[in-house]
Amino acid sequence: MIATPTFDLQTETAFQAHHNGRAVKNKLSVVVFSGDMDKVMAAFIIATGAAASGMEVSMFFTFWGLKALEKPRQITGKSLFGRMLGVMNRGGLDAIGPSRLNMGGLGRWMFKKMMQEKHVASLPELYEMAVDLGVKMMPCQMSMAVMELDRMNFQPNVTEPVGVAAFLEEAAESKITLFI
């Protein structure tokens, strides 16, 4: 006799709620792919809000997202292309521009001014808040290699570079995972 495969919702849910025997935590994982000021801001607002609500928070910065972790006023890259990338697309929370209407930096200046007038926290302030609240910030090793960025190019409080498996481990034990 052939056994019919059954789908037991309860067992299935219980399985999904665990990762290798580890329970899902009250935790948020965020992939910060974008290096645009507006999107990075959204990522930091959600991260600080979650941390303030008692959640553990991990942020994984990859590709353009690494721009947000860079120290200000520095030239990055070693090869010709690497240097070009560093010069043409400056990093640091004050240098990154909005995803729309940046207009060669004019948009960035305008948004900063408007946000300042409305007492909205600036990106550097949000970053400090995230650090104070114990938000974990992890840079992607592979993107760092592509963009010729060194750990020295990043702000303090950024962890050692990690890979996809490290991020997946964080995401698997999180209630919420976002890609920004």
Binding site: I45, T48, G49, A51, A52, S53, G54, M55, K118, H119, V120, A121, L126, M129, L133
Partner: protein, 82 residues
């Protein structure tokens, strides 16, 4: 009669002029600075707190004693649960 007359809050926060996520972040910091069972009272001008502070209380388990709109300000009291 307002609830704030019943007992004095252990800590008072002025959140006037501040926008998301600062009210929630400051509340989280302030609640850790009072003893369990004590309250934090705050005044804000961001209408967003009417949704955010009750949600923050639900997710952290702290008790929302009161939240009310007074003219153009929002006054609320939260009690530290644990």
């Amino acid at each position: 009669m307002s609830t704030s007359m019943v007992e004095t809050a252990a800590k008072f926060l002025d959140l006037k002029g501040l926008l998301c996520p600062i009210p929630v972040v400051k509340m989280a910091k302030a609640i850790k600075e009072v003893a369990v069972g004590e309250t934090v009272e705050a005044v804000a001008t961001d209408p967003g707190v009417m949704a955010d502070i009750p949600a923050w209380c639900r997710s952290t388990g702290n008790e929302l004693v009161s939240i009310e709109k007074q003219d153009k300000q929002f006054r609320f009291i939260a009690r530290r649960a644990k």
